[in-house]
């Protein structure tokens, strides 16, 4: 392993890391929102939308991300919809993550005793406000472990977005290996950069989880 090669590659990896983080952040944020919406429709048993989300959850969780990305990048243009690589990657992550996040939110919501919701209503909250101020904060505390596990899972899943020609970390590593055969240096940096991204996320998630659970469950 050559230290100079590592140093030479560093800026390229740093640049790719920024892209990976950006894609992951957008994908995770969208999937949290999609998942929350799905969970709310499932929780309130809203007709039509509930069935729609039930089907969506199954489809999203039972197809590999690579396949979803291929579809977005190669099949959609044939149907007249051309999306940029970044949009494909974010859409793919959001589509996959939305299904997992919906399940996480839903199990959190269902673990909140219905009487909590009724108590909020009896104070004069509208259902949507009761959800926001009473049910969701408690659901979040209960769903936190699953939500953070899904977040880490989605960040790891970004490692396949190079299939839609995005110059992310994996893309750069493959590129450098193909061009110069510095396999060990490139892969070492790849591992390091993923750790650099994921370790702080895992630590932040654990801290957030503690904070969310403190009130109800103690430390």
């Amino acid at each position: 392993m050559d230290v100079n090669t590592l140093l030479d590659y560093l800026p390229l990896f740093a640049q790719a890391a920024v892209l990976t983080i950006g894609i992951a952040a957008m994908g995770v944020a969208c999937s949290l929102v999609i998942g929350l919406l799905g969970a709310i429709y499932l929780y309130f048993r809203t007709p039509v939308l509930r069935q729609f989300f039930a089907v969506y959850i199954e489809v999203s969780r039972n197809t590999p991300l690579v396949v979803q990305l291929f579809f977005l990048y190669y099949a959609l243009p044939k149907l007249g919809l051309v999306l940029s690589s970044a949009v494909c990657a974010i859409t793919g992550l959001a589509f996959l993550g939305g299904g997992y996040m919906a399940e996480a939110w839903r199990s959190g919501l269902e673990a909140v005793p219905p009487l909590q919701f009724r108590s909020a209503l009896s104070l004069g909250f509208k259902p949507i406000a009761a959800l926001r101020h009473v049910a969701l904060p408690q659901a979040m505390a209960r769903a936190a472990p699953a939500l953070t596990a899904n977040t880490v899972f989605l960040i790891k899943e970004t490692s396949v977005v190079s299939v839609v020609a995005l110059p992310d970390l994996v893309f750069v590593a493959k590129d450098l290996i193909g061009a110069s055969y510095n396999t060990s240096e490139a892969l070492t940096l790849l591992v390091l950069f993923y750790l650099l991204i994921l370790l702080p996320v895992a630590l932040a998630a654990a801290a957030l989880e503690r904070k969310l659970r403190h009130g109800e469950f103690g430390t």
């Binding site: 909590q116 209503l121 009896s122 104070l123 004069g124 509208k126 009130g215 109800e216 103690g218």
Partner: protein, 262 residues
């Protein structure tokens, strides 16, 4: 049967009928009035529809017939803004239903801040005053999990009061408490009664009903079958059902054959 109407009613129920989705009849034609500052105790065997009745008044169950008026205004039927009615009608449930993700002060402030859009400093001052009044001045920043059942119910009561309700519905609020905590909660309710709060109280604490209520409604099978002053109801119940019911609360040796104890 005693006169069903009273002067200056704040709540008027007229032939209220309710049916659960499974077909079970919860209320089978209930009519009565509650006057301002009146305390009405509702008693009756388990399953007779007491909770259903309170939930109907608070819009947590939909009625199938009849009408309910609050301050003369009909609050049943389509297009009722229940979120507005419920600010005027507080309800405390049997199970401790404090919001576990908020501390005591947070529980008290949530409704005033998010529903009534009250000023935080003003609401906080009121909350601390109420805590003081129920003997919990030092528990403002405790979490619900750190409170005893009796303390939780006292907070639940003043959480309702924070919304300045015109009417309070209490559904067996001491039924889940350890016996030594019942008193501290009933003392709070008795204090409210003395202050003129209008209340509909479902309870199995007969001596409490007798001491605090202005009137007792006895329910059976979804109907009010007896309405009387506490004196009358507890000393000379008019119906056999009421006599049988009251007999269950007395222990005077092994059951006697033939009829209720006198």
């Amino acid at each position: 049967m005693a006169q069903l109407t009273s002067d200056n009613p704040i709540l008027q129920l007229e032939d209220v009928r309710q049916r659960y989705p499974n077909g079970h009849v919860g209320l089978d034609g209930v009519s009565f009035d509650v006057a301002t500052s009146e305390v009405v105790a509702i008693v009756g065997p388990s399953g007779c529809g007491k909770s259903t009745l309170l939930r109907c008044v608070n819009g947590l169950e939909t009625i199938a017939g009849g009408s309910i008026r609050l301050d003369g205004q009909v609050i049943t039927g389509p297009g009722v803004r229940w979120e507005l009615i419920r600010q005027r009608v507080g309800m405390v449930f049997q199970e401790y239903e404090l919001f576990p993700h908020l501390d005591v002060l947070g529980n008290l402030l949530l409704g005033p801040l998010k529903v009534a859009k009250e000023e935080r400093t003003e609401a906080t001052a009121r909350a601390l005053g109420l805590l003081e009044r129920v003997g919990l001045a030092d528990r403002a920043d405790a979490w619900p999990r750190q409170l005893s059942g009796g303390q939780k119910q006292r907070v639940a009561i003043i959480r309702c009061l924070m919304m300045r309700p015109e009417l309070l519905l209490l559904d067996e609020i001491t039924a889940s408490l350890d016996p030594e905590m019942v008193r501290e909660v009933l003392d709070v309710v008795a204090g409210l009664a003395a202050d003129g709060m209008t209340m509909l109280i479902v309870t199995h604490e007969m001596s409490f009903a007798r001491a605090v209520a202005d009137r007792v409604l006895f329910m059976d099978a979804g109907r009010v079958i007896e309405t009387a002053s506490p004196e009358r109801f507890f000393n000379q119940p008019a119906t056999d059902r009421a006599r049988q019911f009251l007999a269950m609360f007395r222990f005077d040796g092994p059951p006697q054959r033939g009829g209720a104890p006198s």
